[in-house]
């Protein structure tokens, strides 16, 4: 199973240092992915599970993390349906270039714009294909062929620059039926929210498998999972491990995006990712571990020790 961390910023007016500290701690602990959602502040109907950085442009945050990390992938989850997809395709390509090919683009349908998710995904894919294209109909014809636009206007348009990655990962986020439908017809990964339980996700993925057949094997199965907090304010790593194990068994979740409690702070996140690297991840990497191995880890102090605390 791959592990990611949802980044939040508690740095007030200077959020960069806070985000960089979390990003470096996760990379050092061997995490595979950083995940950034757009945060438009209070009153944004789309925020829901997304709030966290106090910053409304996730792709710009991903760009800022690039020079402070070397290998970890960075997921930037953007609202889809309220913005011309050409801007998303352009901005994502620029960030993938800045990151040297480490971007994962998330698309979360904006409230009321679920019906446009397929058009967004298609235009982003066309824009990243490195071939001029023509797409008529739908809300965003490209090129539009408008009266008065004469010079240099051609029958097809090429979105530039190209991303570094030959196939930029595009994952659809959220619980809506539109996400399942578009993922099933475009073969795109899905990021489930924390509120979606294992049984529901098993049904969801069954629908995707029925639609795609063996092509579904290529898709990443991702979920955000809140890290539980036990008595005394310690992260409940056993509870987390049990839930991830259940997800793994029920719907073959292959990537988890851990969500620390709001306000946890960079130090607590650093403690959390270090503890997960020793006490959660190894125990989910194989179907079963040989008898005595966990006891050996605990005896050597590597697989046990004090549980990191959530700051009061």
């Amino acid at each position: 199973m791959r592990f990611g961390i949802v980044l939040r910023a508690t740095g007030g007016e200077r959020p960069l240092a806070d985000l960089v500290a979390q990003a470096r701690a996760a990379e050092d602990a061997g995490f595979d992915l950083l995940w950034v959602e757009e945060d438009r502040g209070a009153g944004d109907g789309a925020a829901g599970a997304a709030a966290g950085t106090g910053l409304p442009d996730a792709l710009a945050v991903a760009s800022a993390l690039a020079p402070h990390t070397t290998s970890v992938r960075v997921g930037a989850c953007c609202r889809a349906g309220t913005l011309h997809p050409a801007y998303l395709a352009e901005q994502a390509a620029v960030v993938d270039l800045v990151l040297g090919g480490r971007l994962v683009l998330g698309l979360r349908p904006a409230p009321g714009a679920e019906a446009l998710l397929g058009d967004v995904a298609d235009l982003v894919a066309l824009g990243h294909a490195s071939v001029p294209f023509r797409r008529q109909g739908g809300p965003w014809p490209m090129p539009a062929g408008l009266d008065g636009n004469r010079f240099g206007v051609t029958e097809e348009v090429a979105v530039t620059p190209d991303p570094v990655q030959l196939e930029l990962p595009v994952w659809l986020a959220g619980p809506s039926a539109a996400v399942t439908e578009v993922a099933s017809t475009r073969a795109l990964g899905i990021v489930a929210d924390d509120a979606e339980d294992a049984a529901g996700l098993a049904r969801r993925w069954q629908a995707v498998e029925q639609a795609l057949g063996p092509a579904a094997l290529r898709l990443r199965r991702v979920a955000r999972r809140a890290v539980p907090v036990g008595a005394g304010g310690a992260f409940d790593l056993d509870g987390l491990r049990d839930r991830l194990h259940q997800d793994q068994r029920a719907w073959r979740m292959d990537t988890v995006l851990l969500d620390a409690p709001p306000g946890a702070g960079a130090d607590a996140v650093a403690d959390l990712v270090a503890a997960v690297a020793r006490r959660v991840r190894p125990r989910l990497a194989m179907a079963e571990l040989p008898p005595g191995l966990v006891e050996h880890w605990e005896a050597t102090g590597h697989g046990a020790g004090p549980r990191p605390q959530v700051p009061a």
């Binding site: 209070a42 910053l55 409304p56 901005q91 490209m142 190209d162």
Partner: protein
Amino acid sequence: MSLDIGVGLWTMQSTVSAPSSMPALYRRFVDDARRVEELGYHSMWMAEHRFWYDGWCPAPFTAAAAAAAVTERLRFGTGMLLLPQQDPLRLAETVATVDRLAGGRLDVGVGLGHRDAEFDGLGIRRASRGARMDEALDVLQAAWSGRPWSHDGTHFHYADQPPLPAPAQQPGPPLWIGGMADAALQRGMDRGLSFLLPQTLYPHEVAALAERIRAGWQAAGVAPGRIGILKDAWIGEDGDEAREWFLARTAVHYREEAGSWWVLKGRATGFEEPELLDRQLRRIVETPLVGDPDRLHADLQELADAGADLVVLRFNFDVTAERSMQAMSLFSRTVLPAFTGATP
């Protein structure tokens, strides 16, 4: 009068004249930002275009986030960002994000844009660009106000918007208007915005415009902005050699850009009107600041005397990139201290 000196323009183009690895261009941009800050410059400027073979960066502030993340003092600006081609709410969000990450170091230079193909690719009529510019400026200022806001215009509609997370600079990063057409001047003067004048002006033209702009701010009863100018520039210990090296290269750069993009006399693009193209390019090779350190010092003093308080020196082109840091380094040792008061 004090003079801030920035450098430009980073565009991340891999052209036929200077092919490059695109990821390497972005890595170099971040490295250059560190070096430009060390050299003592005020600011680093980028520019926007889209749908073009060389991959010209269409999202300059997104790229600037990476450079801002490794610098402390250097400001980042656009000369220009094509505001009528943008979704202004999305731009407001991007600028707010990067300005917060940078601790308040953005300058937002905006121009109209001119390529029909860029507008058409985005489903926008080029003829609407002036009206879109006005509305987009309204949207930016409302979105950065920290209050709930709405906008119901001809081109943009945003109903009952919650306050956006605010940029670090209040009431928003400085806005700079590009261009010198009457409408552009009026727009900036009425709103009390700053100006970033185009690179082909002679000092006496800068002086006349600066006088007009200052009078316009006063007439509009607004707080005055700043007056900047973009200038193509090159420096060498041997001024003649510098001139020969630089002008030969920028002639290639501008002939490609003007020949492909500029619509001359409303008739055709440059390559289809070679005589008009030659006439246009003549002014471009006459107006850069090129020479030895003494010459550049004198040229800059002339611009300061004409009323400019910011000059963005464009050392960095696709065709000069291999040596642009050398030139910026020489300039910072020999000319910059006279304008910043720093010890060389």
